[in-house]
Symmetry: C2
Subunit: 306 residues, 2 copies
């Protein structure tokens, strides 16, 4: 790898609502970029900005010193990293894979171990901050892996986020992200129950949110998702099915450790119900509809749905 000050040859795989602005932010700092996306259309804005469009993760790896992945699930990461046309087939020893999607800590450790056999380093470096944080390069980044690799890649992570913390060895970033999602989702459940209780009491939920934001109950969740619960704007920022995936990871991690997370389990049941109601692609703010619906006569539910 060249000095951090110089332009580097980067790769980015997974150009969705998070990955696309992140890849663009890396390019703004003058780095060369090779990209791959399952749907080639997703790569358009990157190609317009000068990125090289590749036909496979392997081809990205052949053209990059540091490769970022922002795909969806644990199995996607395994395929992109270790599959037939995967990164492992194209990357040279000394390359670094920075995986930024939320996946299971155990999978992150397994993929890192397989890559290490070929001399390829890996950081698990999931993020918090949502699409707005990705666009504004204000993400919070929690990284796991070797400290020396973290230090080498840190200048690139600084193109993407503001708070960048090395949490420990391989998997520690994903474990931290699991803790983040647990705190976030339980907080969202609390906001949904509080605003549903306000509405059931005949008190204006908008006013309740305003006054709660001035006290100890204030949270970014109540600010962001609470605003959408109040305005009944359930169009997706991040689709709830992705939080379902994340909470699955939390519950599996807790299961493996023998650690009870009772409120996390409660939220999972509500997200299951959201998916049952056809709200799996809605914003997480639609959680309030479940809390309301379960306490509502069927007639009122029909009116509410209309």
């Amino acid at each position: 790898m060249r000095d951090e000050g110089k332009n580097m040859r980067l790769g980015f795989i997974g150009l969705g609502v998070m990955g696309r602005p992140m890849a663009l932010n890396l390019m703004k700092h003058g780095h060369e970029m090779a990209v791959y996306a399952r749907r080639a259309a997703s790569a358009e804005p990157l190609v317009s900005a000068g990125a090289r469009l590749c036909g496979s993760p392997r081809e990205v790896a052949e053209n990059a010193e540091v490769i970022f992945t922002m795909v969806t699930s644990s199995s996607d990461v395994e395929n992109v990293a270790l599959g037939e046309d995967g990164i492992i087939k194209g990357a040279r020893a000394g390359c670094v894979l920075v995986d930024m999607e939320t996946i299971a800590p155990a999978v992150a450790r397994r993929v890192a171990a397989s890559l290490a056999e070929r001399g390829i380093d890996m950081l698990d470096a999931p993020v918090s901050g949502g699409p707005a944080g990705a666009q504004q390069a204000t993400l919070s980044i929690m990284a796991g892996g070797k400290a020396a690799v973290f230090e080498r890649v840190k200048p690139l992570l600084e193109c993407l986020g503001k708070t960048i913390v090395h949490m420990g060895e391989s998997g520690a970033g994903q474990t931290t992200k699991a803790c983040n999602q647990l705190a976030l989702l339980v907080c969202a459940q609390g906001a949904a129950e509080a605003l549903a209780l306000a509405r059931a009491s005949g008190i204006d939920p908008a006013k309740v949110r305003e006054v709660l934001m001035a006290g100890v109950a204030a949270s970014r969740v109540l600010d962001l998702f609470g605003a959408r619960m109040v305005s009944r704007d359930f169009a997706a920022g991040i689709e709830t099915r992705l939080y379902h995936k994340d909470l699955d990871i939390v519950l599996e991690l807790a299961h493996g450790l023998g650690q009870a997370v009772p409120a996390g389990a409660v939220v999972m049941q509500h997200i299951n119900a959201m998916i049952g109601r056809g709200d799996g692609t809605s914003d997480l703010s639609a959680l309030i509809k479940i809390i309301e619906a379960m306490s509502m006569p069927d007639d009122a539910r029909r009116n509410d749905a209309a």
Copy 2:
């Protein structure tokens, strides 16, 4: 009642960790003050500052145009307002009672109705912000009652808090406070589960809290109570038994409305367990001990308790 600009004759009943600094803040604005506390020692700092010490709520009411109460429970408010030596026995028509403790909305409405028969107005005006907010006069105040009474009393509330919102008719302030406590307590449960999961995973909870505070999981609860969960500083700011009382009010309100609050119910079970473990007078941050203890072998629990 005189013009808002002029000094007024005020009363304050209940001079605990919240009431004492609040009464002092009112006196700083030049108002005369009559006080009553069950334990006369609590009134010392007020008397030193020039307040008149009274022998009963009735005597406070005889000496005040606006009377503030910051006692503990619904039954305390009923006794202080309507009891044998209560405010109702000493207050003149046109007086205002501003009740700032967290009590059941139904009790607030009932007391207000009894006082109204004697021409005494009442606002329910509970607060959020804790002892620090009381000291710094930065409380968030959520008020219920007649709009005209709210406007008359608002300049006094501005001596105590920064965000002061009229939520609606009698009881609306307490209903809003119930929503506040529900959101706060569920958020605290999420923070406790997330930090317990971090600890079980062998990741430094202090680092986890730091990085979570930079992302969407950030909350004042994770900031304030999370810091104490990390430092294992469980000495009380506000004793958990008071949150138990508040959550009782939330669950009773939800019950009366037929509104499910599933995560609120889960938190109540954990607070019950805290009381069982002798942590009823600890800070709410001790919630993390319950999450940890339930997943810990008895031997480890003994070591943890030591």
